[in-house]
């Protein structure tokens, strides 16, 4: 954007702000509970709405995993209380196969989409974009509000599906047809699947409204002096995330609409040559391709994992630099690698499909492109390591989670090199190795990024601190627990144990890990309990936490710490501050930190 345009844009914003602020003063006493807490257009409130909805989903999704881990860890035991909760889905205290698959499916859907996409991007994009670029609010606060409420609607639809007579969707979070298209093939593919499709469609709408808003805001509403290369890495990460979402979610939506047609309109996009044994009928559909759905799904599905991990990378980069008290190493390389990952994200989807009968030559192209991603990922890891090197590290809870993130990202990223190689994928595809891989690299890592963000910005959100002791327990138990759960799982996968097997007792090859499964389930329950403790800490600290007394408690450079401790709608009471430097002038010229708002002095050294 040209200078003139920037100035012009800002002139516009400033005027609108003046009007807005004036109105704000006038209406101040009229702000009702509904406009402040429910249909709020303040990005900070919308952030909290996303965060708390995400936390509720995370507890539900986590609890589902505890339930099916019970079945996996203790296949011979019965738990009568399960029947009290699940009713006919757990007759005699043992989870029925249909219910098990429903739990697995909903666990995946909820955590991938509602927690780690909606909850993570929704929270931090909303909170940090206006605050860190120096804007009063999002480009369109109204669309932003709609984005949350579509998310809420999607949540309600998915939540309702849990209570259906035939149960929620149970074909796996990927919902491959024909299984997901045919009610006769599975109970979960009856009404549950329709709810799933509608819920996901609403979610896509929410994601698009949010994403377009984030992109527009970042491009047009940066404060004076905030050039793109002065943006904190959080904003860059959220920017690429939003672009990925805007370009890939519509493809999922189209795939889901075709699925809906196949289900109800008699079309044959995905269906061909099918005989349903339960009704003893051959379906009339011919000529469809079941694999087409996988192409459409993974064209979103793969970028989706970067939609999850990029914001975490951004948060970690920022927090790591602040707490190592030195600049992030290789700022431009960090942006470059984010960019490379975002581009490659669209070129690797078929690596989920090596064993679908895909043309081997096509497969080889996807191997090459997939393993290329390891290069930008390696650059990021080495840059984080160098950021720590010769720093002066404060182990705030946020910093601990940032370090934990890097550790998990390395561990999970390296197994990606195994799975991205089609030769190894033949053996490892759809085994527990895959489960271990993506839980570490995308599940737990992204959660660590999210925790890192929450611990770091909680004082800005609520004007209070979280309790440190509980935070330390939370971190160490979660880090150790994550490794204890998922590290040994790789071995089960190497032994070829397929995923989504609720009981291996019928198998000679896969029945060697009973003790290990029990161990994993026990650790999973402990880790889950500790997450509940975190949630408790979160809500307790909102009301009773130690008060923040200084504007900039972490000694950070970015703009959000120049706002008042309890910033109102509009963020800065007076003028929006002007920016004079990048966000990472820590330890420069012997000074601990130099905020972005400080003009560059004549005597300052150049980097």
């Amino acid at each position: 954007m040209s200078n003139e345009a920037t100035l012009h844009g800002h002139a516009g914003i400033d005027t609108s702000h003046d009007i807005g602020h004036g109105e704000h003063d006038v209406h101040h006493h009229k702000e009702t509970f509904i406009t402040k807490y429910v249909f709020s257009q303040d990005h900070k409130m919308i952030c909290k709405q996303f965060l708390i909805t995400g936390m509720i989903w995370a507890i539900l999704g986590g609890a589902m995993s505890v339930l099916f881990r019970l079945q996996l860890g203790y296949p011979d035991s019965t738990f009568p209380w399960l029947e009290d909760i699940l009713g006919k889905w757990a007759k005699g205290g043992k989870i029925e196969p249909e219910a098990y698959y429903a739990l697995v499916t909903m666990h995946g859907t909820v955590l991938v989409f509602f927690v780690l996409t909606g909850g993570l991007s929704g929270t931090f994009a909303n909170f940090l974009i206006p605050l860190q670029i120096g804007a009063r609010d999002m480009a369109s606060p109204f669309l932003n509000m709609l984005s949350y409420w579509f998310f809420w609607l999607a949540s309600v639809v998915i939540l309702c599906s849990l209570f259906l007579e035939t149960g929620p969707a149970s074909g796996g979070w990927t919902s491959y047809p024909p299984l997901s298209a045919l009610g006769g093939a599975s109970e979960g593919s009856k009404a549950g699947m329709d709810f799933w499709i509608i819920g996901m469609a609403l979610f896509v709408v929410s994601s698009l409204l949010g994403g377009l808003n984030y992109i527009t805001t970042i491009l047009n509403m940066r404060t004076k002096g905030m050039s793109m290369t002065r943006l904190p890495l959080t904003i860059w990460a959220l920017f690429f995330t939003a672009i990925l979402g805007v370009l890939s979610f519509p493809v999922l939506l189209s795939g889901l609409i075709l699925l809906l047609f196949d289900r109800h309109a008699g079309t044959s996009f995905y269906l061909s040559d099918i005989f349903i044994a339960s009704t003893n009928t051959a379906l009339p559909n011919e000529g469809g391709s079941a694999i087409l759905f996988q192409h459409l799904f993974w064209f979103l599905g793969h970028p989706e994992v970067y939609i999850i991990i990029l914001p975490a990378m951004g948060l970690v980069s920022e927090v790591m630099s602040v707490n190592a008290r030195k600049p992030i190493f290789g700022y431009m390389a960090m942006i470059g690698s984010l960019f490379a990952i975002a581009i490659l994200a669209f070129l690797v989807w078929a690596h989920h499909m090596f064993v679908t009968g895909l043309n081997p030559f096509l497969g080889s192209v996807f191997v090459l492109l997939t393993l290329l991603i390891a290069v930008p990922s390696a650059i990021k890891v080495f840059n984080w390591l160098t950021t720590l090197w010769k720093g002066n590290i404060r182990f705030t809870p946020a910093m601990l989670f940032a370090i934990g993130f890097v550790s998990l990202f390395i561990s999970g990223g390296l197994t990606g090199i195994w799975l991205g190689n089609s030769t190894l994928d033949i053996h490892l595809h759809d085994t527990l190795f895959v489960v271990a891989h993506f839980h570490i690299v995308m599940g737990v890592s992204a959660f660590f990024g999210m925790f890192c963000g929450i611990y770091h910005w909680f004082p800005k959100m609520y004007g209070r601190y979280l309790n440190n002791t509980m935070a330390y327990i939370h971190f160490w138990v979660t880090l150790a627990g994550a490794y204890l759960i998922f590290w040994p799982m790789h071995y089960e996968g190497l032994a070829g144990m397929p995923r989504r097997y609720l009981d291996t007792s019928g198998w000679h090859s896969f029945n060697n890990f009973i003790g290990l499964n029990r161990f994993i389930s026990t650790v999973a329950m402990i880790v889950f309990a500790v997450q509940i403790m975190f949630v408790f800490n979160f809500f307790y600290s909102i009301f009773k936490g130690r008060r923040v007394t200084t504007q900039n408690p972490w000694g950070a450079n970015t703009l959000e710490w120049t706002t008042p401790i309890h910033a109102g709608h509009g963020n800065w009471p007076g003028e929006i501050p002007e920016v004079h430097r990048w966000a990472y002038d820590y330890a420069k010229d012997g000074r601990e930190f130099i905020q972005q708002t400080e003009p560059i002095s004549a005597s300052e050294s150049k980097h």
């Binding site: 044994a277 290069v375 089609s422 759809d430 408790f536």
Partner: protein, 357 residues
């Protein structure tokens, strides 16, 4: 009762943790924020190194514990290639894993906060960044190179004389079809499928080639040291033919047949002796979510010698004969030598099948 007890313990645990957490916050304020911070920082810095050491020991120990349970030697020639690839990858990623984890936790420990330390202003260094762009690129070139070499060998065309078996998945078991003596799979059409009239695959009886096709469930017979090409289909939803011991896997997609081939190295009996496990069987697992019976969708693969195979096949009644019953005379018993000849002839005719498909 025990559930209530468990919940009580859990609640008590929470309460105690919470009280300690609260108390330590007050103590922190009394001690002074700075002193409290330094103390916590030292503890966490120390835990970093503890975690690193225990973690690396744990990784080693876990490997010792489970390396014996991850299948052992591959039972197919393709599997050997996959195992080699696995070892190359393990070596490269293993080295990177150990080095980076050590650096990460060591740096965290070493450069923890100290009043005296001045952090080093080090925003970028092009040479370093170039190094760690190029090195991973080289390592990955090696991995891609080996990977694709093996990939094309494994997914290349099956040898012309390969035994052909059609595998069809359905909820929730497997159907195997052998072409019979003419070595041609007869035509089929899914609208013709009927479990009631024992026509699981919808074979068209008008086509004489179907008349000698053998259709069985549960167990698939393969010949040792003879390449086998599986033609994979599905009758309803997507399944996946997973053969862990052979390290092979391929989806079964309704409407779109897929293939894979490999050569079994050991008969089931040889494997039983090798593993000293009389219960051993090669198992065929479904590796693609296919509904509520997914976890139990099991097939058995019996690898036998050529003569055992011929003997087995001679004993099988064709699907056609089973359905038509008395309309067709029972297959006359044949001597072993004739069967051998037939088998050889069959192999030569195998090429036709590919065209047929």
């Amino acid at each position: 009762m025990s559930t209530i007890f468990l919940i009580l313990i859990l609640l008590l645990g929470f309460l105690i943790t919470f009280q300690i957490a609260k108390a330590s916050e007050y103590v922190g304020i009394l001690k002074g924020e700075k002193k409290n911070f330094e103390q916590n920082n030292r503890i966490n810095g120390f835990l970093m190194i503890v975690f690193l050491v225990l973690g690396l020991i744990g990784v080693y120990w876990c490997n010792e514990l489970y390396k014996g349970k991850i299948l052992g030697e591959s039972a197919s020639d393709h599997g050997e290639k996959i195992d080699t690839m696995l070892h190359i990858t393990l070596l490269i990623t293993g080295i990177v894993f150990v080095i980076t984890q050590i650096l990460l936790f060591w740096f965290a420990y070493k450069y923890q906060y100290s009043e005296k330390r001045k952090p080093y202003y080090f925003p970028h260094n092009n040479k370093l960044e170039l190094i760690w762009t190029v090195i991973p690129a080289i390592a990955l070139t090696v991995l891609v190179g080996f990977g694709l070499l093996y990939w094309f060998r494994i997914t290349g065309d099956a040898p012309k004389d390969a035994l052909q078996v059609e595998v069809t998945g359905k909820q929730f078991n497997w159907i195997f079809r052998y072409p019979g003596k003419d070595n041609i799979f007869g035509k089929k059409f899914y609208q013709n499928i009927s479990d009631k009239t024992d026509n699981q695959l919808g074979l068209l009886w008008d086509d004489p080639a179907t008349h000698d096709d053998i259709v069985t469930n549960t167990t698939m017979y393969l010949i040792v040291n003879k390449p086998v090409k599986l033609i994979i289909n599905s009758r309803d939803v997507i399944h996946d033919v997973g053969l862990v011991h052979f390290r092979m896997k391929m989806d079964a997609v309704p409407g779109t047949p897929t293939t894979m081939w490999f050569t079994p190295k050991y008969t089931t009996d040889e494997m039983r002796k090798k593993l000293n496990d009389p219960e051993f069987d090669y198992e065929l697992s479904c590796d693609q979510m296919c509904g509520k019976g997914h976890f139990s969708m099991k097939g058995i693969v019996k690898v036998v010698t050529q003569s055992e195979f011929i003997l087995w096949r001679a004993k099988q009644q064709s699907n056609y004969a089973r359905v038509m019953g008395d309309k067709k005379p029972a297959t006359p018993a044949q001597s072993d030598s004739t069967q051998m000849k037939t088998a050889k002839l069959n192999n030569e005719a195998a090429t036709k099948l590919v065209a047929e498909k």
